[in-house]
Symmetry: C2
Subunit: 219 residues, 2 copies
């Protein structure tokens, strides 16, 4: 009985890792859809959201079942409540990837992104992918140093976000208000995605060390 | 022992209701700070965030303690896991009110909101306050009809959001890109705040009826 229980906890963790990879793949695809104005890629992300939502539901249900049947205490209980929070972060990250894909779809066949901000969003997409990959690794194998590197990479994302605003506010922004709205929202989506990835890593660190470093930036 | 336990569950619920009212008050104050370019009000919202975060932490800790000591099952377990999710929604709503206050602060002494969109954001603030008040009432006393009315009111918020974009995209938007960025972000903050209020009500309905109506719009 206890062995089965231990296996179940490990399996829930493996599902979280898998869900994180699915979210990372959605984000990479959404960024490609956005920058290449590729409708098929945008549709793939939008269609794939159902799978991410199903993963969330399945993990939540399994956590609930463990709580109800095994009544874990101490570290095991904390593991389960942490998993329930991480799954919320990951679901939200999937939503944000979908928002980006929908924006690409809405502007198709035009590109949603003016040429000046393309390199910034390309880099934002790369960092987003790297962050979620690192978050998945931290879930799989708690590593406080790796979690700290996520925070540093999130600072890079914040820098890109500021750079985006500088482009928008430069005197010679020639693309009008609609493109400015799109770019503002896109910047927000990437920034929030990164915040949630950091939040995932912080939750794992808190689980392992008991030291709360979460400032409630993403929940 | 069991009586104390029952009281604890009721008390956690009362704390959630109180936190929802605090969040509602923060949102009303933030909207006033924004529309009247009132620095003192903006600072009050920003300073008050600590109290909302402390409420979150306290409620989360109490939920965890109940799980660890009482090992609830069935409805009681579901009540606790629902409370843990609601507290995340409420915390995020507090963050969004703070974002609005910070934007008011950043633009002070200028108003952050051009005159054309003032009435729309005034109404968005009113609806946001109404939504969180209704959500608090649903937490206090689960009421499926009241939860449904929240959904209808959220549709009004979505309509305001679209109206905001129409203003921004009208041919004679004379306020430039910076004001357009501010208004885009403000629209997003109000919309997300409303989504989270609806999410709170849906979680309560799910708790009572077992029917999931949550589409993962806000977590």
């Amino acid at each position: 009985m206890r062995d089965h229980y231990r296996e179940e906890l490990e399996d829930i963790n493996a599902c979280l890792v898998e869900m994180a990879h699915a979210v990372g793949s959605a984000m990479s695809t959404a960024t490609a859809a956005l920058l290449d104005a590729d409708l098929a890629l945008a549709d793939a992300v939008i269609a794939g959201e159902d799978r991410i939502d199903a993963a969330r539901e399945s993990i939540e249900q399994r956590c609930f079942t463990v709580l109800a049947r095994q009544q874990p205490v101490a570290t095991d209980l904390r593991t389960i409540t942490t998993a329930m929070r991480i799954v919320s972060d990951l679901e939200r990250m999937g939503d944000l990837a979908e928002h980006i894909a929908k924006l690409a779809r809405m502007r198709f066949p035009d590109p949603a992104v003016p040429i000046e901000v393309r390199p910034i969003l390309l880099e934002a997409g790369r960092i987003a992918g790297s962050l979620v990959g690192k978050a998945a690794a931290v879930i799989a194998e708690p590593d406080i140093a790796a979690a700290a590197r996520l925070e540093a990479e999130d600072d890079v994302m914040d820098g890109l976000h500021r750079q985006l605003f500088r482009e928008l506010l430069s005197a010679d922004w020639p693309h009008g208000v609609e493109a400015a709205i799109d770019v503002t929202l896109l910047g927000r989506y990437y920034e929030r995605f990164a915040d949630h990835a950091v939040s995932v890593a912080r939750r794992v660190v808190y689980l392992v060390t008991g030291e709360r470093q979460v400032q409630g930036t993403a929940s």
